[in-house]
Symmetry: C3
Subunit: 399 residues, 3 copies
Amino acid sequence: MKNTSEIKAMIVALSKLDTKAMYLNDFFHTWKESDDEIAAVFQVAEILRAMRENNISTKVFDSGLGISVFRDNSTRTRFSFASACNLLGLEVQDLDEKVSQIAHGETVRETANMVSFMADVIGIRDDMYIGKGHTYMKTVADSVAEGYRDGVLEQRPTLVNLQCDIDHPTQSMADMLHVINYFGGVENLRGKKIAMTWAYSPSYGKPLSVPQGIIGLFSRFGMEVVLAHPEGYEIMEDVEKIAADNAKASDGSFRKVNTMEEAFRDADIVYPKSWAPFAVMEERTRLVEAGRFDDLKDLEKKCLENNARFKDWTCTEELMKTTKDGKALYMHCLPADISGLSCKEGEVEQSVFDRYLVPLYKEASYKPYIIAAMIFLAKFSNPSGKLDQLLDRAVPRIL
Amino acid sequence: MKNTSEIKAMIVALSKLDTKAMYLNDFFHTWKESDDEIAAVFQVAEILRAMRENNISTKVFDSGLGISVFRDNSTRTRFSFASACNLLGLEVQDLDEKVSQIAHGETVRETANMVSFMADVIGIRDDMYIGKGHTYMKTVADSVAEGYRDGVLEQRPTLVNLQCDIDHPTQSMADMLHVINYFGGVENLRGKKIAMTWAYSPSYGKPLSVPQGIIGLFSRFGMEVVLAHPEGYEIMEDVEKIAADNAKASDGSFRKVNTMEEAFRDADIVYPKSWAPFAVMEERTRLVEAGRFDDLKDLEKKCLENNARFKDWTCTEELMKTTKDGKALYMHCLPADISGLSCKEGEVEQSVFDRYLVPLYKEASYKPYIIAAMIFLAKFSNPSGKLDQLLDRAVPRIL
Amino acid sequence: MKNTSEIKAMIVALSKLDTKAMYLNDFFHTWKESDDEIAAVFQVAEILRAMRENNISTKVFDSGLGISVFRDNSTRTRFSFASACNLLGLEVQDLDEKVSQIAHGETVRETANMVSFMADVIGIRDDMYIGKGHTYMKTVADSVAEGYRDGVLEQRPTLVNLQCDIDHPTQSMADMLHVINYFGGVENLRGKKIAMTWAYSPSYGKPLSVPQGIIGLFSRFGMEVVLAHPEGYEIMEDVEKIAADNAKASDGSFRKVNTMEEAFRDADIVYPKSWAPFAVMEERTRLVEAGRFDDLKDLEKKCLENNARFKDWTCTEELMKTTKDGKALYMHCLPADISGLSCKEGEVEQSVFDRYLVPLYKEASYKPYIIAAMIFLAKFSNPSGKLDQLLDRAVPRIL
């Protein structure tokens, strides 16, 4: 646990990062943020965590709402967002907007304003349909920004992307913060190999935003980023291009391989996880929009049959032995499909999963702090000054 | 934005109003409140808003619950109530009481007490059935008042009517505060003409409480209040009588006309909105109580057919031109049925609606403050003293 | 109402009780707690109540979550838990875990950790299936204790049993605190007779945890505890044994009789309430586990038919006359099945119930404070010191 003077030092380091553009702004995709901004999110997350560990309150809001919109069930993300809001003093109110995929812009704009009169932040998870999630978030964010400019809203509610069809920034950044701590600092990541690989699951249509988020972020740290998947399980080309550009800029590498074996070989980190092919997700969106639910069933059936051809894409003890010193860090966003436990055949062997239980839980534990950091940086033009103030007043979290 | 000394002056003005009878009391209908009490709600709402704009916390409760009971889906009212409670420091807990229309008094009394051990306020929306909503609210309010007297409850939870079958005071008062600000002060309302008119909608059974609330409140300010609707769309006679009496007392007028054209002519404000005829709403209640759901469908069909005869009752650009200088203030409680946007033919032309978007959103923005003011006045015997205290301590809302 | 110096005296009395083992511990069953620990829960509950009555804030948490898990609908317990959390400064987040009866340990463990990163307390109600509720609670409590030890969680979320298949400690302790106050002190309970008796209800499968909780707790105070039920309505033998042992240790008595008449005779307290036979509850669990829902219907039918043989087991005015001076304290956990009101024939005559309405509501009013006391004692190693601190700082609950 860090002590107060260590926290002071962390705040000084934060003060050197340029976060001006984050103030009163939204967080959509990690690749829209500068290196300083990404570093600031990690730094603020660590500072908030260190303060909480020292029983120092980080409640910067005396009142105010955090609006959450979840298009599908999401216990974990819901609790992460609620925890982040509570940590800063915001009260969560859920907006139930199940049908809004088909809602036209006008309705979204009106509802966004009507619920935001006292909202400081809006968190949205909408990852189900290609081309929809990000669009919906953008519409909401633009609507309330306009409401603020027009004097309808007294404050600018900023948006945190809790998972869209393109990126899952709170997940990838929590994952990366876990990696940074696991390897003892961001400076130790250079040259480390991460294998982001597809893995078999008996379910269908898992979002692409996790693998996309991982390659889009991890490629910024000079690492050797390897993406592997069976033929047909392509992700969005745009994001692959971003990963390639990032790798170049950071003196790392990004490449695609065709087997799990090749990806795992000498890897420092492995992230085996199922996802649906981009083309299937696109087709699915078209069918849902057209109301062709019978065809949707056919698509699911076809897709599951296709998946079944790749049951050998699974994270076994044998494969783990081929990683660096046989002990790569195994990662997953949870919940995982565990062979013989949650399903007959899945993404990972039970003995591998069980061995990494504590690291996996720790990986997840960063998410509330990452979300809180994103909110914090959007709300304060001088975040290090504000954190200093919190540290100095030292209100106890528990009396 | 008002500064601190302007807020001080507003508090001084408030201190001259007699609000004694509001203390530990419920807010059912605007016409049960004195002129001082109505003025005090507006004043406290404006003061709370000004304080929030100045980043001054208005959290008077360190802990305590605000109970909300919604008999039908209500995103906007739900968020307004949650915002108001949060602004004052109360945590909202929803009570799901869908079936309580048919619950007998004993059950209501028991539940009301059981959920109120730490409740400071109860907000109820129950507007669906004639003769039911207000009755239910009265039962709840009486039950907890009795619980307080009997020593069961340590505090008196007061009730805020978030819409009943008779009145919709938080809506009409938010609307009126919008009008007051729009025309630059309550003193400028004398002689202004408001047209509260029925308008066509492809839906059926919209509550009467909005038009009733509007004529019941707006008639108190010396205005020319005109109610227009097709034959058969009568509202409650009792409320018309209240409007007439109010108009007389305030040196204004209240009259009914038979066409939208006549109502709109030279109007300063227009409020075109659909509602169901009182007689139909009564019949509907009887059918629901008797469980005659087939007859209910017939009633709906008949009512929609009847509605369709009055599709020309719609707010067009042409009609707007006939208002005072062609630019009356267009009002609506939202959501509106917008022709060509949310429905084929509805209450208002899209171009009219779009032109008034910002004023409409501002109109809605007063509701959380109106609700907070109602709670505030029910909780403090000396509201101006308490607001002074808040202003002086000046705890920041955001650190 | 107690004044500040009386509260001081209560805190001094508390300081003499040994509550060390409660710190960072869970509350499962009253019989797992020492006499000092039971006394401390009552004392802290009374102190928190007295402080609130004196408008002194008891908010010890500046931020933090209270997780609630309810396996079936539960308005009252939900509000009691929410009130307790709010009183201490925790924000409630509901975890919807309807299907977790059949969830295997691994999933429970993962979810318990995933939602608890900022949770200080977890309240669970799971009373539906014999052998399940307590097991589930134990799994959750062990999982987060392990998460805390492993460094996954920064704080130890402690568990409060809000009703399991075996005990209902928050109910029985609220009931007992009501009895203590009714009779003017715990020292006056010695020799008092309480009749915990089965009563007829037209419903089936009510949990055993209320009668078990009552005999398991009330037998600790030197009282004459009498349990009565028709043949076949046995409760768990283990708990009868606990009651017998308690009675012996406290110089009271515990015995079973076969008629309501015998139980009521000269009783100081009567608690007539329906429950399902243990054997039926066991059979029900087996059928649900096997998915034999047709057989479940048969079981219900058979059970209701059997219940109907004992319609004369009901609390009448006539029976009440046979109690001590004809005015025993009538108790119920609510809601009761009231003959002629909520059902044709039920647990109690309406005139009896109505006569005891205020005491019944007061009985219920202790529950939020009992829950808050359980949380408080699990969170502070020196509870009296912490309460002193609250009393001294004297932050007003309402400004």
